[in-house]
Amino acid sequence: MIKITDLEKFYRTEEVQTVALNKLSFDVKEGEFVAVMGPSGCGKSTLLNILGLLDDPDGGSFIFNGIEVSGFNERKRANLRKHNIGFVFQSFNLIDELTVFENVELPLIYTGVKAADRKERVHEVLEKMQIMHRKNHFPQQLSGGQQQRVAVARAVVNNPKLILADEPTGNLDSSNGNEVMDLLTELNQQGTTIVMVTHSEHDAKFSHRIIRMLDGQKVTENILV
């Protein structure tokens, strides 16, 4: 599903150029659950941004579903993203002005799903995430665990092929964190590919394979299953 080869990304200020990704290469197969680990500043988040088509690499190749996507313009990237990729963030990133229902509904709006179908689909996902009773609440009225469940619901509502998770349990206590990890595992078992960036060895154990990074390069790769 994903094949990156010699991926490069630099950050420049006026005087200094920092290398975020240094000729990074690896594959992710369909249905895989991959964890990316490494110390702060090793390039994990940059990698996730590129995989999520939020950012463009400065060099190398990125093939997504058989298509070379590096060099896509913003519109093409947005289009590919909204149909194929779901995101889960450490800080949940729910829109404070929208209710739980409306937050989950948002991706469906942008993919042009009809209102009646949207309602049905959102309800279905909210039921699955066991957060239905909170659908008319605003994010601030929920606990951290509940917010992350809403975020996961939003990530999966479009049935994406790939879910990118950036420290999904980072802001949660252990029991809420475990719940989220169980949810991701379940999604993976149903066929969704997952790439997760994490600091937590505990969380990484839920994955099939751990890629460890340092200074923008892959250091080791452990297959767990």
């Binding site: 941004n49 993203r81 909204k82």
Partner: protein, 781 residues
């Protein structure tokens, strides 16, 4: 999707009440100004367009050569209308109209003054006014018949049919009502409540081509080209009058707003005021939109996360653009509703002020379209930049809630927009000060003749017939100081002549001298200073032929000592008996021109009465008694000369008042924007202020730091606004022959007011930020 946009827009508005109130009320004020001006402009543009086939109606003006310059006159000689119809094939109908007059109408017990005119046969062919009863065309053509409007019919005849009834006009002659027409709409440049055939008032001297005193209108054949008509009209004067005069056509629809002519070509008129106020309204709307833009981009960091999330879940840039535009349109819509309410509330007062019955009919399709257009323009004007700005930001930066400083250089743009706002406001304040100064000057300027405590009484009916006995009785009142008669009000002498000649005059020199007939004691009553000679006096029988001139006439003739010299004018060759010091004979827009006074009490239409100080009320009582005694058929009527003088400046007063209100509004909206921006800046810099305070900064240091930036922007605005205002006001003052000088203190005053207001606005927020406990602000980070 749209619903989702509006939903979030609504929630955002509710969440940030302070900023929402500033945005909505600012936009409301801006749109309020635009709407008010728009209704006014719409009314002005509607003039004369209700006449059927108005495109074929033209007003005839005459171009003539005057010392090498082309002068365009609005009045035409009597025989022109007939000649146009006879000799110009494009002309289907031609009519001439005498001056409108308020004449007494009597029917049985009922009496009142009604405004009307004498017009020639084709009047109703040119102006196809709808009839209610009778045939107006036939009635106008029949001798001894009068056509009246519905107003007059209802006032004098109530329940009976007016047709065939006889009314007395001007207490002088009986006319049979031949037809009743619908009331003339107020947006017609030709106004009347009665019309009688011109033949009834025509006199032999009016037949001369040199006497221009009538308005001439033509209706061309529907397919006729006005250019061809004008070409054919060139032959008329050579054929009949041997004068270098060329009639020209002005479309009727342009008469109201394009009344000025320069070098024989239209050069504007009322349209200029319309343009000025449209620009001012647009400026005020722009100021309000800028508030919205500035707040939206300043607060963009608060929206950045939302933008990021939307992009991550699949929003393309254009859908985000649409979302933010929807927000600004929603805000504008709320502003619009408020603005419509304000218009509704103020329209009656505004109508009185512009002296027009201006209405707001939102069911009218043009009005509705314009209101919707205003909404969309405001929405797009204020929302497009923020929408572009916000939708362009990359999702990664958004999610990290960090906007790169200098992105699109929004801060610089924001500062520029604040400068723009304040430049406009300061420009309007300077204009306000200058215009106000000029108005003060006009009110207090010594005209060279008295206008205080002078009453004018129209000499009509028996007051005219028994002018001298009436004057003697008036003079007997203890409250009256003096009295005289004159053909016109001496503050607005409109009549002029090219007939002046004197020994040694260059035969090629064309002259145009103002002229007025007066009675005895004119100089004394009006308190005009004599430079030499004397006033007309009953002691000299030959004075009935003599002339009184002003200094400008003496200068024109090149005479240092004109008294006793023979000149040739309307009374033939006769001596100058006195030279008056120059006094203003028209509004201060006009320069003082040469003036000749001729003694002819019988040519008077006003009695001018100078009352004793503090006894004006008594004088009015005495005059009323006398008028009732002499002239029982007429209502008592009097005017104060100084009020009549003010009327000469109606347009100027209107401009001055409008600029004043608009200037204040512009300043209020700018200040609201500044307040919001200052509040936001203080909020954003809380951490910085906290650190500075921990490091030892005093409250004064902080306030100066925060207010200093804004003060600098206002200073830049002053620098930009001053020369622009100087140029504009200089031009405006040049439209007066007599005006104040632009003074440096006017600019300093405007600048100081702006700085002071801006400083008060900003420092409130700065002090609040500076006095906050730094521990709190640092802990909250």
């Amino acid at each position: 999707m749209i619903r989702n946009y509006f939903k979030i827009a609504w929630r955002n508005l509710k969440k940030n009440k302070f900023y929402s109130i500033i945005n909505i009320s600012g936009l409301a004020l801006g749109m309020f100004c635009s709407l008010l001006i728009w209704f006014w402009v719409k009314d002005e543009m509607s003039y004369d367009r209700f006449y059927p086939d108005y495109e074929d109606i033209y007003y005839v003006r005459c171009n003539s050569d005057f010392n090498g310059k082309v002068v365009t006159s609005a009045l035409t000689p009597s025989p022109l209308a007939e000649a146009l119809k006879k000799d110009v094939p494009e002309v289907a109908f031609a009519t001439k109209l005498a001056y409108n007059r308020d004449l007494l109408i009597n029917f049985g017990e009922k009496a009142g003054k009604e405004n009307g005119l004498y017009a020639s046969d084709d009047f109703f062919d040119v102006f196809r006014l709808p009839a209610i009863a009778g045939n107006p065309k036939d009635a106008l053509a029949s001798p001894n018949h009068i056509v009246i409007t519905r107003n007059v019919a209802e006032k004098y005849f109530r329940d009976i049919s007016p047709l065939g009834k006889t009314i007395r006009l001007n207490n002088d002659k009986d006319y049979i009502v031949g037809a009743v027409i619908e009331n003339i709409p107020s947006n017609s440049t030709v106004q009347l409540d009665w019309v009688v055939n011109f033949k009834e008032t025509e006199q032999e001297w009016m037949q001369l081509w040199g006497n221009t005193m009538l308005r001439t209108y033509v209706r061309l054949h529907p397919e006729a080209a006005p250019e061809n008509a004008e070409t054919n009209m060139k032959g008329i004067y050579p054929k009949y009058a041997d004068m270098d005069v060329f009639p020209i056509l002005q479309p009727l629809k342009n008469v109201r707003l394009y009344s000025d002519y320069k070098n024989g070509k239209p050069s504007g008129g009322g349209i200029e005021y319309i343009r000025i106020f449209m620009i001012v309204a647009l400026f005020i709307l722009a100021i309000a939109c800028i508030n919205f833009m500035n707040m939206a981009t300043a607060r963009s960091s608060l929206r950045a996360k939302e933008v990021g999330i939307r992009k991550v879940v699949g929003a393309a840039r254009n859908s985000l653009f649409k979302q933010f535009i929807s927000e600004s349109i929603l805000t504008s819509l709320l502003g619009l509703l408020l603005a419509l309410g304000l218009v509704k509330l103020t329209l009656p007062a505004f109508s009185r002020f512009v002296r027009r019955p201006i209405e707001m009919d939102i069911t009218d399709p043009t009005t509705l379209t314009s209101i919707i257009a205003l909404l969309l323009i405001t929405g797009f004007l204020s929302g497009s930049y923020p929408a572009l700005y916000l939708s362009a930001i990359s999702p990664i930066h958004n999610l990290k809630n960090k906007l790169k400083p200098g992105f699109f250089n929004a801060a610089f743009l924001r500062k520029s927009l604040v400068v723009f706002q304040f430049t406009l406001s300061i420009f309007l304040i300077i204009s306000m000060i200058v215009i106000n100064g000029q108005m003060q000057y006009m009110r207090s300027e010594n005209l060279g003749l008295d206008r205080e405590r002078v009453l004018s009484i129209p000499l009509e009916g028996e007051l005219y017939n028994k002018m001298e006995p009436f004057k003697q009785e008036v003079l007997r009142s203890a409250a009256v100081e003096n009295a005289t008669t004159s053909a016109m009000l001496p503050i607005d002498i409109g009549s002029s002549s090219g007939d002046l000649s004197w020994p040694g005059k260059d035969p090629d020199l064309q002259t145009n001298v103002s002229v007025m007939h007066v009675g005895y004691d004119f100089i004394k009553t009006m308190n005009i200073e004599l430079a030499a000679g004397r006033d007309f006096s009953k002691d000299f029988r030959t004075d009935s032929l003599a002339y009184l001139i002003n200094e400008s006439t003496a200068e024109l003739m090149g005479m240092e000592d004109p008294v006793g010299q023979q000149i040739s004018f309307w009374n033939g060759e006769a001596p100058v008996i006195g030279m008056m010091k120059d006094f203003h004979i028209q509004s201060l827009h006009m320069p003082i021109t040469p003036l000749i006074l001729c003694l002819d009490p019988l040519n008077s239409s006003h009695m001018l009465v100078k009352t004793r100080a503090g006894k004006t009320a008594q004088a009015i009582q005495d005059l009323e008694k006398l008028t009732r005694k002499f002239n029982p058929n007429y209502p008592f009527e009097y005017h104060f000369l100084d009020t009549e003088y003010e009327k000469l400046y109606r347009t100027d007063t209107m401009i001055s008042t409008l600029i004043k209100y608009f200037g204040i509004l512009a300043m209020v909206i700018s200040v609201m924007g500044l307040l919001a921006l200052a509040a936001f800046t203080a909020e954003q810099r809380t951490k910085e202020i906290g650190i500075r305070k921990v490091l030892g900064a005093s409250v004064t240091n902080i306030v100066t730091l925060l207010s200093g930036n804004f003060t600098r922007l206002v200073l830049i605005s002053i620098v930009i606004a001053s020369p622009v205002a100087w140029y504009t006001m200089h031009r405006w003052l040049n439209s007066f022959a007599y005006s104040i000088e632009l003074q440096w203190w006017m600019f300093i005053l405007a600048g100081s007011v702006a700085i002071l207001i801006a400083w008060i606005t900003v420092s409130g927020q700065s002090i609040k930020a500076a006095t906050a406990n730094p521990v709190k602000s640092l802990r909250s980070e």
